[in-house]
């Protein structure tokens, strides 16, 4: 019998404790935590009060280290394809065309001063597939591939999630490819001639060429 009453007593008292807690929160609802990010000094200062935000008008800022949307800076890419090999989900597709000797200057250097040796007709990142693991960033030798802290980049059409970072248009790429083949053919011819003459292969003379106009295509990411 005493257990019966003690049960009722503990039941009532614990329910009262719980209700006191929820009522406290109810009255604390006049305070709001705000959108302080973890970088802000007063992040843990507001202990009570409402803690949710009205996304997207208010949002907790993502820290600078945040690993979200992949961005590639085509200016700095040397076309080594290491990221493509390292990606566990195969979301990066790269096609490269070797730069002919006369185009080296046109192709330019990276910001680190390294000579680029590949045109990049295709550098596609399927960010819908990307799992933001950051392995590609860690293997990139020129740091041209970065995860930006842009967390919300949803699209209505999934094909828009395929970001193109290549720096050649299709026509330009075809031209470069042809040029490379010509150069190769000339080289082979020269080599064959040299072999026929039993001489060391001579380097083919650089051909005169109109000024190249590859306009780097920043892709969608810059928008």
């Amino acid at each position: 019998m005493s257990e019966y009453f003690s049960n009722i007593k503990t039941g009532a008292s614990t329910i009262a404790t719980g209700m006191a807690i929820t009522l406290k929160h109810f009255f604390n609802a006049v305070k709001r935590k705000g959108d302080a990010g973890i970088d802000d000094a007063d992040y843990f200062k507001q202990v009570d009060g409402l803690c949710t935000l009205q996304y997207p008008r208010e949002a907790v800022p993502t820290p600078a280290i945040g690993r979200y949307r992949l961005h590639m800076d085509a200016e700095d890419c040397i076309g080594c394809s290491q990221c493509e090999r390292a990606c566990p989900v195969e979301c990066i597709t790269i096609e490269t065309i070797k730069v002919t000797a006369d185009d080296l200057a046109a192709c330019g250097k990276t910001s680190g001063g390294q000579q680029k040796r590949f045109w990049l007709p295709v550098f596609d990142i399927d960010v819908a597939k990307c799992m933001t693991c950051g392995i590609c960033v860690s293997v990139c030798p020129t740091d041209c591939l970065v995860h930006t802290p842009v967390a919300d980049f949803s699209e209505f059409d999934v094909s828009n999630m395929l970001y193109h970072f290549g720096n050649l248009t299709k026509i330009e790429a075809d031209a470069k490819r042809r040029k490379l083949e010509e150069e190769k053919a000339a080289k082979e011819k020269a080599a064959a001639e040299a072999a026929a003459r039993g001489e060391a292969p001579a380097r083919p003379a650089p051909k005169p060429k109109p000024a190249p106009g590859p306009q780097p295509d920043g892709g969608k990411a810059g928008e």
Binding site: F26, D48, Q54
Partner: protein, 359 residues
């Protein structure tokens, strides 16, 4: 009592107004509380629950539609109206359709006897309390019809649980109300309020004027939670166990009907408890000497205000409980009903009787 009947003169006059053979006045009188309740249930019940729960959980709650999300419920209703009204192929169509209707009607029928102030009452039945308690049982029919008619196992579980629960909790609830009836010596809802109104304000209320009244008050409050399927007794719709209980298969407006019925009955039981124990439309303010606060805050409009405020207070407590407590298990629910509430209800009954005889 002539005093009481004069209070009712306004509604009596209105209900006597006929348009030819059609009792237009009577319809209007009956419709006033219904319109109010429908509006309340549509906007403030659902909205209030969402806001209160949000604040208790450190959230903002609905904020998008209208200022502070005030029109959120309206948007929800519009959305529900547009939804396809699905009747499952295997369902018992008649029961499936009739279920929510019965429940909706059942929960609103009791409003007929709720006095909204000295002047507003749908029908001042001399068995008003009895009627109110009895009409709640109609909800059980609706729940059982929808649960069985859905042809869904979860719905069936919910319906069977609900019937067991509501029928069981009728007993302590009715006995607790009987204590109130003994104090007032009447079953008429209007007379309850009249008996508890007076110049001393809340000191006339049974909860404060009668030393035993707190026991039936608490018992009825707990039982009313169970009767309206509110937490911690929401086992018929226990979402973590039975998906959604008896309304698992419902969509669109039929689904909304269950919700409106739930908020309707929440107000109904809150109304009953405030009428029986807290004086209904009687003002809580006393007359202090020449400062006649009580007289100033009485009258038809004030009466409606007080009873609605009391109702809101109990609805707030119901929501407060819901967002604090876990859910009981079926057998624990029955234990609480038969082994705790019912014996205490009988004790309260006897004590009240003794008090009423020897006071």
């Amino acid at each position: 009592m002539s005093h009481a009947s004069s209070l009712n003169s306004w509604s009596d006059a209105l209900s006597g107004f006929n348009l030819g053979w059609f009792p237009l006045g009577l319809v209007i009188v009956a419709a006033i509380p219904l319109v109010f309740i429908a509006l309340y249930a549509l906007t403030y019940g659902v909205y209030g629950e969402r806001k209160i729960s949000a604040f208790m959980q450190d959230r903002l709650g609905p904020m998008e539609v209208g200022p502070w999300g005030l029109l959120q419920t309206l948007a929800d209703i519009l959305k529900l109206l547009q939804k396809e009204d699905i009747v499952p192929n295997a369902a018992d169509k008649f029961l499936f359709v009739i279920g929510p209707l019965v429940m909706f009607v059942g929960s609103f029928l009791a409003f007929v006897v709720l006095p909204f102030g000295p002047a507003f009452i749908g029908a001042d039945l001399n068995v008003g309390l009895f009627y109110a308690v009895g009409i709640v049982a109609l909800e059980v029919v609706g729940i059982l019809a929808s649960g069985w008619g859905s042809n869904n196992k979860w719905a069936l579980y919910g319906a069977v649980r609900s019937v067991a629960q509501i029928v069981s909790y009728e007993i302590p609830a009715s006995i607790a109300l009987l204590c109130g009836a003994m104090m007032a010596g009447t079953l008429s809802m209007q007379q309850f309020c009249v008996a508890q109104s007076g110049p001393l304000g809340l000191l006339h209320w049974y909860l404060f004027s009668n030393p035993i009244a707190w026991l039936p008050f608490i018992i009825y409050f707990i039982s009313s939670l169970a009767e309206t399927n509110r937490a911690p007794f929401d086992i018929p719709e226990a979402e973590s166990e039975l998906v959604a209980g008896f309304f698992t298969e419902y969509t669109g407006m039929k689904f909304a009907m269950f919700f409106l019925a739930e908020y309707g009955s929440m107000f109904m039981v809150s109304g009953i408890i405030s009428i029986v124990f807290l004086g209904g439309w009687a003002s809580p303010l006393p007359n202090i000497g020449s400062l006649a606060l009580n007289d100033m805050t009485s009258g038809p409009a004030w009466g409606a205000f007080w009873i609605i405020m009391k109702g809101f207070f109990f609805i707030f407590v119901q929501m407060w409980l819901r967002w604090t407590l876990p859910r009981l298990r079926v057998d624990q629910l029955m234990y609480l009903c038969w082994k705790v509430l019912t014996p205490f209800a009988f004790i309260a009954f006897v004590l009240t009787a003794v008090w009423e005889i020897y006071k």
